[in-house]
Amino acid sequence: MALHPYDPVAGAALRNVPLAEVDSKDRSLALSRPWQLRPSLLASIASHGILTPLRLRPKQNGLMQVVHGFRRFEAARRLGLPSIPGLVLASRNLLKLFLQALEEGRTARTLSSLENAAALRTLKYRFNVPEKRLIEEFLPLLDLKENRRTLRLHLDLAVLPDALQQALERGLENETALRLSGRPEDFQSLCCRLILSFQLGKNRQKKLVEMLDEILAAASKQEVQSVEEVWRELGCAALENRADLTPADRWKRILALLRQARYPALSRHQARFDELKAALKLPPPVRLQAPRYFEGSSLEISMTVREARQLDGLARELKRISGSQEWEELFRLL
């Protein structure tokens, strides 16, 4: 039964389609995943019903295929609505229908990385659109950089497991997600938990995954341990749950433990350097710095002074401590 007197798409009919007549398993044209349904959309549909009809297409098995409106369909399903308004399209040109749906989606809102990824994957594998056309035509259409690397990245993002895709929506970086995708699930979930709870930026995510991966690889050379066991043994699990510390402090300490595990000789060296430096009791305006990773043969001493008298005092103080054993040892550390 037509709901409106006009037909906005040639050969299309607006109908109220019983939910049971829709093939709920066929998500081959979907850009979103079922978990991407926003609570606000669910609430809106619960109060007002579906205001914009979905685009549907009759299939040979007698059911309807959703072409556009997967989130609305998911909401209707969860809310147990008996039927949905659907614009039933007569065209058999599925690619054309998909492109219309994509156009509608991308002009109505900014598509997420994952939606872009799903669109590109569908175009490539469902419709066999050649890579050259994807790069030259569709990447710019989706506001993405026009190169093969971007295409590859998105094609890979589209097949990430659900857990990683969900983390992507909450702050996991694309590159980190791809790096994690080949790793065991317990490793993925530990990394995602840390990245999301400490809201780590791109570089920190990269560093964390690399360090943890290497620590675990080294641990598994001795005896096979689970990721969480190693995490506990490092003392990180206890720190992660310390309510008396701010998240920033917790993260700082966890990072220090990871560094100690990954770079034990450097950590010992650094600790000795810090001890000796503390023993020098340098006047507060004086800063003493070792070269990065102790690569180099000189120490850097810097100070901030406001007047000549202060400089004179500091110079005398530095001279007084310059013969101390600590200095000797500090230089030997280089």
Binding site: A218, Y263, L266, L334
Partner: protein, 369 residues
């Protein structure tokens, strides 16, 4: 060593008459041969190849090297413009790529080629070298062939060593170095080398060879090959490079040094070099991906001034210093140097104020022949 047996040989028509082409085709009667007009484009196209694909390097390309063969070794100059202590070395790239699979090999990140390429225009190579050596008779040249390939791994197919050794025998201001992890020395044994060709092995303890240097000759095979070359009068050089740090490294490297000098007369070994493991960061990621069982990326590798990752400085100073002491004890007359290290580390290891200049170091090595 696992011998190299290509399934297919591409031959550029320009090298149809080369002695190297004749040798290869004669030694591979069963291989499929395809004649091509121009190899450069085919090789360039293949650079998009993914190095993790296992069925690689099954084809050998015999091509004409279009440019200059002879150039200074790039090791002394770093990406950041800093200079490491260098030994005034020159290289000729007679081939590109290697069929062996050392986990740490920089070629996998640098070359990324699915083919083995041999530049068969040896006549051009010799002409070029002849011009360089005779127009600068007062300069000294140490020339290596092992920068982008193993010097001898394909020698049983190509016979490249013969024209090179015979050519260098005619010069007193130049010496050739074959650097290898193979045991392919049969072609060398009857040649009249006049002491102007050095045969060198990059060597590591058997546990490292087994774990990290896949498809190469075993430690025993390398040493046996070195014994043969030493008996044939060749100066023998060992490159203890890359030194690998692991819990038993001291015991293993010490016995490695002792065994070498028990079996190779110290007087046959004019010099050795030392170098600790180093790699650009992208190579570390590649090693993790391609060799997940390798322990190398798990070492305490940190960024250094030239952008490469190296063991934490005290670790490499300790390794290089101890190696130096063990080698000196086993063979006091053998000269030891370390390239690919900065001045700071050199001074600590060699307890000297200033490292020698590259010309001084290079010339002093040459004088040992």
């Amino acid at each position: 060593m696992q011998p190299y047996k290509p399934e297919k040989v591409f031959v550029e028509r320009a090298v149809a008459e080369s002695v190297i082409t004749r040798n290869v085709l004669g030694n591979l009667p069963m291989a499929q041969v395809e004649w091509i007009d121009e190899a450069g484009q085919m090789v360039d196209k293949s650079r998009r190849w993914n190095p993790s694909i296992a069925r690689a390097k099954q084809s050998l390309v015999l091509a004409r090297h279009p440019g200059r063969f002879f150039k200074p070794c790039p090791a002394g100059t770093t990406k950041t413009g800093r200079r490491n202590v260098c030994c005034n070395y020159f290289v000729v790239n007679f081939a590109s790529n290697c069929h062996m699979e050392c986990s740490y090999c920089y070629l996998q990140a640098y070359l990324n080629l699915p083919y083995m390429v041999v530049h068969a225009n040896v006549e051009d190579l010799l002409d070029e070298l002849g011009q360089v050596f005779s127009s600068n008779p007062r300069s000294h040249y140490r020339v290596g062939t092992g920068e982008l390939a193993d010097s001898l791994a394909l020698d049983s197919l190509t016979g490249y060593s013969r024209p090179l050794v015979e050519f260098f025998a005619g010069f007193t201001n130049a010496a050739l170095e074959f650097k290898t992890k193979s045991n392919c020395v049969e072609n060398l044994l009857q040649l009249d080398h006049r002491g102007r060709t050095v045969v060198s092995w990059s060597i590591n303890p058997p546990t490292v060879v087994q774990a990290e240097e896949h498809k190469t000759a075993s430690f025993e095979q390398r040493l046996a090959a070195a014994e043969k070359c030493s008996a044939a009068g060749y100066p023998i050089v060992f490159h203890f490079d890359p030194l690998i740090h692991y819990p038993e490294w001291e015991k293993d490297y010490r016995s490695l040094v002792e065994e070498i000098f028990q079996r190779i007369p110290p007087r046959s070994v004019p010099w050795v070099s030392l170098g600790a493991l180093r790699m650009p960061p992208r190579l570390k990621a590649l090693v993790r991906e391609r060799f997940p069982r390798s322990g190398l990326p798990l070492g305490e590798l940190l960024p250094t001034e030239d952008g490469k990752l190296r063991y934490f400085k005290p670790i490499r100073v300790e390794m290089l210093s101890k190696m130096r002491a063990w080698i000196t004890a086993a063979s006091p007359q053998t000269r030891i140097y370390s390239c690919m290290e900065n001045t700071d580390v050199w001074q600590k290891v060699f307890q000297s104020q200033q490292p020698p200049s590259e010309v001084e170091l290079g010339d002093s090595l040459l004088q040992l022949l």
